[in-house]
Symmetry: C2
């Protein structure tokens, strides 16, 4: 949608809202629809090609309005999460479908999703241990619980452990900054020998620092064998999995209990929209609902009625699935794939520019939209380069440390980025490097 | 703002967004402003009278845009929370000001705020006990921690205890459904005698069931004396405290450590916007940040730099304070007060209509916008009346149980509600009651 159409459609939406408010007394205060009314009314998958905006708007009146805030808000979310799950080719077990035991929910952020998964895992292991030995108190169990993530995992994972009141240990990553079986197994054995109870592992696909990928095919089977909950955090990288050529990065997701990524990061859905799937929704509900048996009576673990307030930390909910519905239909799967591919292509374009300059080095493999690079030489030199880049304020780079190296991160993320911007950015960086290297070092 | 102006202004906003996106390459990628730049640029209190929309929009360009997403997003939130705190006449200690140790933060929901407060209290008491006896493990402490709320408190309080891994006990409320000193003290003594550690109390102002108010002036001093964190949940009623005639309902807030209410419920700010204040921001930060000492070096407990990601569960944040800024300025304090007063007036109008019908009874004192009423007679009779009301779908009532009584709840909450709606609603209810009472009972 170009700027001119945005102005036109935006103004139509303003009138849509005003008309709705003017006519609101003509509407029923409570919907006539039955639970499950929505799914049959819309396709089972996202469109490959873009839909017409007119069709989307008329569907709002036809499909959403009769369902009011509830159940429309809940049911569209369930179906949109199925759409998105299918785009990623998630295993069937993660989808809600008509009768599935899994399903998706929109969280506010990946940090929230990690915490929710940890709390669900904590409850599950606590119940299992208490069933085995009824004498055990929750406190006695929590003292022994230990969770794991790579030393490259986002700080929010450590934070989730803090909030959840359990130990979290960092597993040393390998030379490619990936968590591997050997290091995880080693930590497990040591902790079990000390009487601790390993219960939760967070694997990261696309780390914040350098977009490295934990080895799911190694880590997954260990989690299953050791009866540990495996949560996958693919906050940034997840969007790319809608492209067949990147889907292999998700291989091993079949071992996971929960999976999360942020469409608000790289799939053109406005913040916030963090997509989380679980294989067994009852595991989530169990952590937030006092009496899971009660739920069963309400068939809440069938696909028919979903009570999302038991899937998340807050009770209140917004109608965030509308954003997904509009974006998926306005772009179509092909449009979204093209968007991802363009960013990756531009990252590689920047990578080549760096490689052609002997003063610089590429620090990690460029897989998606992030290029980690640096001037050959000291950390101090690169810190000075970053200082000059960010104080010039033409582009903005956020650095990271990879082991002992201070590294610059060039991230492709603007919606409208083109090759010309990448070329300009590199020219700018190269010039600043030239002037930096020309200044006498003390 | 009437419908015609909404259409005009809404379309201006669409153009504002489109212009911004078209001109974005002309803007700096990083702001020039220094931390603390925003506060001096705007008034220290909300306007009494409405501002002009033109002035608000031009302030967005003048005041917000130069501060980009950060620090503008953070600083406007801090100042808006001060504005709102002053509207409520919160004690100075809860305000950030220039150098305050307290301050406000926007959470997503009251349930989130309760959980955040509970986690902060849990961390604080754990650190205190471990400082006294370093041998104590967190697990050993958490096993003994116990929190309290009235038996009328929202279910999200019980949920917070579940997530926080601590016991939560319900204090029997009195004849007016309020938590009183005697019942709380009794529970405290019993639990302390059993070796438990009371650490957290949630007092509710305006309960969900019948808008009853816990007795802060009794409960507060006990919390302070016993060194228990007092959190006040005024999710619905809080908005009314901007009116001098209702402010007395908040008396005793000076005893609290944290206070929360939802401007998205009754102050015309769109969902979500849950306003939470704390007296000591370091208490919150301590629960979510691993090394509170590190923060001190960054002066993060001064009013100058606020890192809200340490004040909440998710890390990501939206620019929700813009909603507050627009609403407070579009209505002015007087406009917001008038809105609250109108709703309360209409609730009393409905109350009088009920009182004039000898078949009905009012069940609890009408303080704000909620009227609890029922047909004199059996619960079954009232359940049938509710069934007829809600299946007619002209109005929608949510019931509650008060002790053994099934009670109907008439809540004034629509933005555009008028006396005519109240009269119609009552006529409708009275007619359905007549036909119900005419049907032969088996």
């Amino acid at each position: 949608m170009d700027s001119a159409e945005f102005r036109r459609r935006g103004k139509e939406m303003v009138d849509f809202v005003a008309d709705y408010l003017e006519g609101i007394e003509g509407r029923q205060v409570y919907p006539d629809v039955e639970p499950g009314y929505l799914r049959p009314l819309i396709p089972t998958t996202a469109p490959e090609e873009p839909d017409m905006f007119e069709d989307i708007i008329s569907d709002v009146e036809k499909i959403i309005m009769p369902g009011a805030a509830s159940p429309a808000c809940t049911e569209l979310e369930t179906v949109m999460m199925d759409w998105l799950g299918k785009m990623l080719k998630l295993p069937e077990a993660f989808l809600a479908g008509q009768v599935g035991e899994g399903g998706g929910v929109i969280q506010g952020s990946a940090s929230e999703a990690t915490l929710v998964a940890l709390l669900a895992a904590r409850t599950k292991v606590t119940r299992r241990l208490q069933a085995a030995s009824p004498g055990l108190t929750q406190g006695a169990i929590m003292e022994k619980l230990v969770a794991y993530s790579s030393d490259q995992a986002h700080s929010s994972v450590e934070r989730a452990g803090l909030i959840g009141g359990v130990k979290l240990k960092a597993i040393p990553s390998d030379g490619k900054f990936a968590m591997r079986a050997s290091a995880l197994q080693e930590a497990l054995e040591r902790d079990k020998a000390e009487g601790l109870i390993p219960f939760f592992v967070v694997a990261t696909l696309g780390t914040t620092s350098c977009c490295s990928f934990d080895n799911l095919l190694e880590v997954g089977p260990i989690c299953n064998k050791e009866d540990m909950w495996l949560h996958i955090d693919a906050a940034y990288a997840g969007s790319s999995f809608i492209c067949p050529e990147f889907r292999h990065l998700l291989n091993g997701v079949e071992f996971a209990d929960s999976f999360n990524f942020n469409p608000h990061k790289w799939l053109l859905v406005n913040f916030d929209c963090s997509a989380m799937w679980v294989k067994k929704r009852t595991d989530l509900i169990g952590a937030f609902k006092l009496d899971p048996l009660y739920l069963k009576h309400n068939h809440q673990d069938s696909g028919l009625i979903t009570d999302y307030r038991h899937w998340q930390l807050p009770l209140g909910r917004r109608f965030r699935s509308l954003k997904m519905w509009f974006v998926f239909r306005m772009y179509g799967v092909k449009g979204l794939q093209a968007y991802i591919r363009k960013h990756v292509r531009l990252a590689h374009e920047f990578e080549r520019l760096v490689q052609q300059d002997p003063r610089f080095e590429i620090c990690t493999e460029v897989t998606l939209g992030l290029v980690c690079f640096r001037l050959k030489g000291s950390n101090r030199l690169n810190e000075e380069l970053l200082e000059r880049i960010n104080s010039a304020k033409k582009i903005h780079l956020v650095p990271c440390h990879l082991r002992d190296k201070f590294v610059l991160r060039f991230a492709i993320c603007a919606r409208t980025v083109e090759s010309a911007h990448v070329q300009l950015a590199w020219k700018h960086v190269a010039q600043l490097a030239t002037s930096l290297l020309a200044t006498p070092r003390d």
